[in-house]
Symmetry: C2
Subunit: 482 residues, 2 copies
Amino acid sequence: MKKQTIKEILQDYKKVLHHDITVYGWVKAFRANRFIALNDGSTINNLQIIVDFENFDKEIINKISTASSLKVVGEVVESQGAGQTVEIIAKKIVILGDNFTEELQTTILQPKKHSLEKLREQAHLRFRTNLFGAVFRVRHAVTFAIHSFFNKNQFFNIHTPIITGADAEGAGEMFGVTGFDLNNIPRTEDGAIDYSQDFFGKQTNLTVSGQLEGETAAMGLGRIYTFGPTFRAENSNTTRHLAEFWMVEPEVAFNNLEDNIDLAEDFLKYVIQYVLDNCKDDLEFLDKRFAEEQKAKPEKERAKEGLIEKLQNVVAKRFMRVSYTEAIEILLNSKENKKGKFQFPIESWGADLQSEHERFLVEKHFESPVVLFDYPKDIKAFYMRLNDDNKTVGAMDVLFPGIGEIIGGSEREERIEVLRQKMKEMHVEEEELWWYMDTRKFGSVPHSGFGLGLERLILFVTGMTNIRDVIPFPRTPKSAEF
Amino acid sequence: MKKQTIKEILQDYKKVLHHDITVYGWVKAFRANRFIALNDGSTINNLQIIVDFENFDKEIINKISTASSLKVVGEVVESQGAGQTVEIIAKKIVILGDNFTEELQTTILQPKKHSLEKLREQAHLRFRTNLFGAVFRVRHAVTFAIHSFFNKNQFFNIHTPIITGADAEGAGEMFGVTGFDLNNIPRTEDGAIDYSQDFFGKQTNLTVSGQLEGETAAMGLGRIYTFGPTFRAENSNTTRHLAEFWMVEPEVAFNNLEDNIDLAEDFLKYVIQYVLDNCKDDLEFLDKRFAEEQKAKPEKERAKEGLIEKLQNVVAKRFMRVSYTEAIEILLNSKENKKGKFQFPIESWGADLQSEHERFLVEKHFESPVVLFDYPKDIKAFYMRLNDDNKTVGAMDVLFPGIGEIIGGSEREERIEVLRQKMKEMHVEEEELWWYMDTRKFGSVPHSGFGLGLERLILFVTGMTNIRDVIPFPRTPKSAEF
């Protein structure tokens, strides 16, 4: 790439000081007919352009306004003002694109505070705001850190299928995929839908998880991870749910539950440290925003830590490892439970933990990320490995402050007889998963893995609170714009 | 990760020489009741385990066979035999999983040559073969190289939506996505399908390209790329088509067509060089296989270069840059055209180039990768930038030996009046793309981008010939297994 970004110019300004350079960007602000704050998206920081208006065609100067795009040639000089190291004395300005001034008034590009809802309605433009520029640069950094971590540790990225005939979780809330003209669906003689005539010759859906296919790959390649979109046709209109979101699912041959917990902890710490190291400016912006949001809240609802402080603490602390059984003891004995402060009181072992319980453990009791493991088998999926107690399975959830479960995983049941028994009990059809069963027939091995919802991690790292604000174009009930 | 992979042991054997270590893997072969070739998927190379059967329970020895999985503790020693540097003298062997012996006979894990068709039918097991281990390790390396290249060059990875209400290419061969029960589709009063009652409140499809959404992101963040699955409901049962495949689409604000060609060339060379540097063992295996495949062909159909040689040449050569108009001249004047050797003879300027023409230019005329640019506007998409001649657009295709088009891209039309005119001519609804139009209204800028079909690049790099053999679980007409 021959063009220099504003990020490069500001970072390596010594290389270009007193030289003429060419820069491109959008006008963030134009003050006093003299100071242009130019931004090209490479960084949250603007480059200041000094315009000596006597040297320029008045018509050009008049056309420059917030949102218009410029090419500027000028000399890099040390800045006289505060707030920046260098600035550009403009020698030539070309307006690349000006504005439909009237329409601009109705957009979020207007330089004033807009609600997050309004920004969402103009998701195609919000990349140009400071906030969403920062969020999506951080999202990239998280994504790249994930690939880097796994590559360093000899994992292979596997693209598991998006369109699938299998239902991995036995869930059911799946979107149908079809090549049928819905006005003209072919039928069999007895009136049923004739899926043999559909594109794939069978009924197909959008995947809810790549895990089962990922397991087959790990049974050959050893260490794999998936990184792709997954889908839920769940009618939940909340700040935590998306119909389309991105999942990361590592799967490792020969790993037991403890290895799996170690992997999850190393992985999360690596990614968060990477963001701390590589997104300083964006994090500082988000940290300030987070602090302001907290101020607006009643005191007892405020977060104890600042955003950056919270990230640093997660990296520094060893995650608490607590069995489900211990956690239930703690909850049963807690003042909160005894005084009826939980919406869902804990009554006995076997209860499914709610978000309020997870947050109590993380934020009040341990004040640290917590890994819960060895859950009752009845509240977990069929493929999780049965423990010797016959009551619990080798499941593990990583719980984070402010967010609850960020990772869920398990050691997988590698013993085919046990797996078959579990599938029977839980009404999972063995025939449909013939290929999954095969991996337990020819050199089956202990193995473990987990799933991370990418957007949850981005929420945690950016301090944003609505999941629709950390994915470029959110898909939710009644909404698939753009 | 505390466990050592076989790759690490073989690479850094000096660290473990004369130490006892623990290794895990699957038995590739067990010769003379003494030599176990163990593989864990981390590399194509096996680790040789020496079993002095007098030291072991006979029952264990008898159970060890191809495909079974082992944990082995033993001393690392310098190898006496040829073919490996070190081997392990086994002290303890644990069989992790043995085999359903009868069923094993019907699988591709049987140690003999299987057809690619049969391997495809058992796609869940083919990760364990030498060939597919190599292919999918290379696929990972290509994937990681792509992320690395863009990250180094300050691009941000953007996840564009998979479910979409928009039809980017104006194509039409899209899969429908629905939450409807197809047996019970709600209708409006006049009998039409009532999409307002579907999950998203409108008709939705699987994306065919993330470009248009990607452009909106580039208009804020400057340099972005997408990397995600795309879909075509095209009934093509060929070795080149998949219904679900992965696309990489960079988009760069302020780049013109020449910058775009430079980017494509730098990008491809970086990725291929990365694979040459990081996948030596797998490439050598694939190179040998490629050579054998060539030998089986009639002499005139054989590739001129070996696989690795071909990759090295692509990195070394400057891609030829040829306008469409020049290319037509060359084709019109070629012996092949004059003697009627093309299935589709070139008659005049304006013709759409077929694969045979592209391959003639690349393999015969230039003997080099070729970038064709400035195509007739009528054969290209509405969003490509109109040139001053009013006849051509700033499109560019990168053509590779043996494979034809590997990248297609263009400078985008940033002038809203010109864009509107083109959309009118090509019957693209402006109303549906209101958000795309917006990017041309507020500080529009010149920008360019391209699309790379990931599987095509993997075909090129691995020397495989059927696209179903370079994606883990191919989706094609009448086939969505696993």
